[in-house]
Symmetry: C2
Subunit: 345 residues, 2 copies
Amino acid sequence: MRKKKRTVFIGKVPVGGNNPVVVQSMTKNPPSKLNEVADEINQLASVGCELIRVAVPTEKDAYFLSDLKKKSILPVVADIHFDGRIAVKAIENGADEIRINPGNFPQRQLTDIIRAAKKRKIPIRIGVNSGSLEKSLVLSASSLADSALRWVKRFEDLGFSDLKISAKSSDAAMTVKTYRILDEKSDYPLHLGVTEAGTVATGAARSAIALGRLLSDGIGDTIRVSLTGDRVDEIAVCYEILRSTGVRNVGARLVSCPTCGRIQIDLTRLAQEVQKIIERIRMPITVSVMGCAVNAIGEAKDADIAIAGGAGYGLIIKKGKIVKNVREADLLSEFKEELIKMELL
Amino acid sequence: MRKKKRTVFIGKVPVGGNNPVVVQSMTKNPPSKLNEVADEINQLASVGCELIRVAVPTEKDAYFLSDLKKKSILPVVADIHFDGRIAVKAIENGADEIRINPGNFPQRQLTDIIRAAKKRKIPIRIGVNSGSLEKSLVLSASSLADSALRWVKRFEDLGFSDLKISAKSSDAAMTVKTYRILDEKSDYPLHLGVTEAGTVATGAARSAIALGRLLSDGIGDTIRVSLTGDRVDEIAVCYEILRSTGVRNVGARLVSCPTCGRIQIDLTRLAQEVQKIIERIRMPITVSVMGCAVNAIGEAKDADIAIAGGAGYGLIIKKGKIVKNVREADLLSEFKEELIKMELL
């Protein structure tokens, strides 16, 4: 059972309360690379990203936020470190939320940041991080959670409570413990994430272990999976975690066999191409891509649409019924056509 | 707390009892492609694979098993469907275990298979699968678990109990429920896996959710992560799951940042290369690859060895101390050299 938190609005997107767990990512480009960052945002939005964070390292980037806001179809969270003046400029230029690690700023600047956020009525995410914990503290789940909660108290004392909290570590077990403490001790919405999780395969696994455990226990209002790699993978992994924990059933689930000595088709490439195609689907369907007869018919029975590969050809199967038998070269285009007929693309 | 199961031996590798959870994978090539499959096995063994399964689709492949056994440094599990004669040949030709889904075979052949396995004293994995459940049953966690347990009973009635069980489904929640039933109702060692989990990123996440939950609850004696992609990723994900659940702390853990608008180095490529290098390390160390100063120093403090990237250069840091400042082009070779000095490679 998810414990009910306060609700904050990032642009028009509500986070917390009874709202669905929100999926977010972060761009690789800063706002001053306006076209590049807008392209990134469009691509991520098309696969289901609902909130976008951008690093704002310079004052110039802060000024570019107002242009980016005109181009972005997603609410924009500005990520700022070290310099409160950049944070204020980011707010003034239209950021829908800012994320700061308050310990990184000259303390006298916090009141300026809070004043600016109040004026534009935007929330602040207090995001502490195992890599930048106050130097006086020994890193542990409780010191990390306590650090976040102390900052929350400080902001409340300064009259600001439109807050969201994150306290990420690069270790799965520490992440789980930290957020359990935050969930117990606070009713602000929680942004879950494992920081610096690694490259795609192992990073997805580490994030899934930690976020899966927390979400299964009803903890978490928005999530980010951070992978060193393609951002589209981050979104796909977020939705896979939400589906596999039963928290939010959105998007197409791919069932594809790992290939073995029985395979007579280039299944890896086929599955990767299918994965790319179905990432745009929001309906909760199951798509199966199998390389041989051993499991294909059984799995296809439970799939909304399936491909079963043979030697140089493939079957397209809908709800267990074979609808097409096509050459390997035509499989993807025929598959796409069927998705369009089903009004999924 | 892991419930104690019986122990079976696959070659010299014990599975069950108090033994470490064993990591396994499956080759893409059949035994008749002798050199290719031997290369696959060597590569997988070098990154920590401890058991290898090979599909044996034909009698010819069964005969090649005796040659493969001479070349393989890992115990070989033969995966056989439909034809009991191939299973018998595989056993006679040196398979260290066979995996069958008994419902796939003419029932009169089971006694032949059992006789052959008894004679050579090798175990059998009874592996049922959501894709090939008896047609009379409606797929659910309990029907899947019951199907496996009925086969176990049948094998016991036929006088054979050197068994391991798996009951895989392509759904994470069903996998968790199925294995909980098996764990409760049986004391045979359990081989965990999500079948046909999908491509690398989402497949790793789905497997991690299911296997992570089970292993955290003390269930599972050997694991396979099945991904449509590179087998080396499967092994890396297995170890990441074992580390992140605290079940088995083996191998190097990579902490690498996801890159953002602050980055001035090709971090994705760097992290992927570092991941490849450290996959051969068996010592439980932490390696950090960070793109900028924001989290680099903090994370590097907790890493055994770290790379912190700048604009065209990088620092190599050991236990928080900067040991080298090198050009971007030399980073990987210098990093490798440090690992060799540390006797990790």
